[in-house]
């Protein structure tokens, strides 16, 4: 059970399946059932579903924390948002980040998984090393990366200089800052994707490779194209969507390293939401940004479940 999406799909199926007939003394047990689910159901309403409805409702108000009154203003927040240059910059930067980090982290994760799985030696050694960044507190490692990217004393520029290449002020230069954050994002996500791909690779039946070999697929590339890649389809979909959703949430590195600068070149949606909502306390406006963010994340999820449904046909 390495693939969360598959488990969920399986769960939906089993929830629809017919139940066994109810057993005797049901009423006392039913009473117990409600007692058992009440804390969870209450907290779900208070901390998840209520707030979700709340954020949508707030996005139609001009509520500001500390203001004496607030009123319904319909779509005004959205009008303001769509007229705001910073919002479009943040959206474009977020999409750029997603478009760079997702392929980077997915392809690197796949290649590393294939390399690890193609031999037998040192598998768990490599797996451990590549997974290490997933475990390490991102904020702490972001601070380390910042020092590595230091214009004068950093490792990266030091290596570039010793190779005779020009150095950059990576995080202070508006033409490189977002890409530096993308690099950190890929570095952090690769190990997680690698593990998901490894789990996918292990589950491919050996006979398929034998069959392909009999059919004349002798080269490594032919076996990859004919067996590995199609069999990894569902896992790949899952990895791409999960990477996409996580990249949409990029915040930690932005907040601690660049604060969205220089000149908004690293401003991203969640950072804009944080600034508006928790520094300026413009709750209604920040809620509208959150709704836009939610729409993107839910759209990605929808794409995943569509593709996962299609995937069933060839597994």
């Amino acid at each position: 059970m390495s693939d969360g999406s598959m488990t969920i799909d399986a769960a939906i199926v089993s929830a629809d399946a017919p139940r066994r007939a109810p057993q005797a003394h049901g009423s006392r047990r039913t009473y117990s059932a409600y007692a058992l689910v009440t804390p969870a159901a209450t907290l779900m309403l208070a901390m998840l579903l209520g707030p979700l409805a709340g954020v949508i409702a707030l996005s139609f108000t001009d509520y500001q924390l500390g203001a004496p009154h607030f009123s319904w203003i319909g779509l005004a927040n959205y009008h303001d948002l769509f007229a705001d240059r910073v919002f479009w910059i943040a959206l474009r930067n977020t999409l750029t980040y997603v478009v760079i980090v997702v392929p980077g982290a997915v392809i690197a994760g796949l290649v590393i998984a294939l390399l690890i799985q193609s031999g037998t030696s040192l598998r768990s050694f490599y797996r451990t090393i590549y997974f290490l960044p997933v475990m390490a507190t991102l904020i702490a490692m972001a601070v380390v990366w910042e020092f590595m990217l230091h214009p004068q004393f950093g490792l990266v520029n030091g290596l570039l200089r010793s190779a005779g290449l020009p150095a950059f002020a990576w995080l202070q230069d508006r033409s490189t800052a977002l890409y530096a954050l993308c690099a950190i994002g890929i570095w952090q996500a690769v190990g997680f994707n690698m593990v998901l791909f490894l789990a996918g690779l292990v589950s491919i039946p050996k006979q398929l490779y034998e069959a392909a070999e009999i059919d004349g697929a002798s080269s490594g590339w032919a076996r990859f194209r004919l067996v590995t890649w199609p069999m990894l389809g569902p896992v790949t979909t899952f990895v791409v969507v999960i990477s996409g959703i996580r990249s949409f949430q990029v915040f930690d590195t932005v907040h601690v390293l660049t604060k969205g600068g220089p000149s908004k070149s690293t401003e991203v949606l969640i950072h804009t939401m944080y600034t508006e909502g928790f520094e300026f306390f413009r709750s209604g406006y920040a809620a509208a940004i959150t709704v836009v963010f939610l729409v993107f994340v839910l759209a990605l999820t929808l794409v995943k479940s569509r593709l996962a449904d299609r995937g069933v046909h060839y597994t």
Partner: protein, 278 residues
């Protein structure tokens, strides 16, 4: 493959590529340890060297602990992550049992809501929960750090999946023995579900030990800071002057999880993957 190519050639290429990649993955960790071990004069030298000429790790660690109350922040991290995990289990386990083994009106709806809840990213609910905690006067407290995470729909989902595999006979036998439904959850199902609980525990602790977004929003007081906030504050106050102690602080903050991971990496990886939906 062994027919068409000599094996050593392929194996060597595999190791060369994997080691090159591993060097990139490890570079920040190595550079962190290297910088944390260097005195100020060596940190601010544009000449690259990995091994410090003068070993200053203890001085840097001492300075990090002196400039920032790191021990306190680590304890905060433990208090918050352990409280979250214990409460998550106390809330999720009974619900998961009921969803897996009991029949009641509204069960399908509740389960559908659990599945829906998994799709909601934590940032989406931040503003209303912040306003709620503000109304309740709970901002800037341990409660503010813990309360929003006491419900883990993913935990409910994972445990329910696991409980489905526990035989009904076991539950019926416990009922014959006169154990209440509540007792069954803790005395029959919990022991059976230890692997799933462990996997979920790893996921929960990793996620909340490393979380930056929520503590940043709800905390003001220095003495409540969690480890990630502590590093961020250290950097903001000291950046540009004391990279050695800053790297030492970063080392201290990541070490509890990283050391645990190095000791039990297989379990960690399985745990994270199993629960990696978030």
């Amino acid at each position: 493959m062994s027919h068409s190519h000599p094996i050593p050639y392929r194996a060597i290429l595999r190791h060369v590529l994997l080691i090159a990649g591993a060097a990139i993955m490890l570079a920040p960790f190595i550079w962190m340890i290297s910088t944390a071990s260097k005195p100020q004069t060596e940190v601010f030298s544009s000449e690259l060297h990995l091994i410090p000429h003068h070993f200053a790790l203890w001085e840097n660690l001492r300075e990090a602990f002196a400039k920032s109350n790191l021990l306190r922040f680590l304890i905060n991290g433990v208090i918050v992550t352990v409280s979250i995990f214990v409460l998550q289990i106390m809330v999720a386990l009974p619900a998961a049992y009921a969803l897996a083994k009991l029949r009641f009106v509204g069960r399908e709806t509740l389960f559908a809501l659990v599945l829906f809840g998994i799709l909601i990213p934590p940032q989406a609910t931040a503003i209303p929960i912040f306003l709620l905690l503000h109304k309740l006067g709970l901002l800037d407290s341990y409660a503010a750090l813990v309360l929003p995470f006491t419900i883990s729909v993913f935990g409910i989902f994972l445990m329910r999946q696991f409980f489905k595999t526990v035989p009904d006979d076991l539950v019926d036998a416990a009922r014959m023995d006169g154990i209440s439904e509540f007792g069954i959850v803790w005395r029959v199902m919990l022991p059976a579900a230890i692997p799933a609980v462990t996997a979920f525990g790893i996921f929960s602790v990793v996620a909340h030990w490393n979380d930056y977004f929520w503590p940043l929003i709800v905390l003001n007081s220095e003495q409540l800071r969690t480890p990630p906030l502590a590093v961020a504050h250290f950097r903001n106050n000291e950046a540009g002057t004391s990279y050695g102690p800053l790297m030492a602080a970063a080392m201290v903050i990541i070490s509890p999880l990283v050391i645990a991971f190095l000791f039990a990496q297989r379990r960690f990886i399985e745990g994270i993957t199993l629960t990696g939906i978030k």
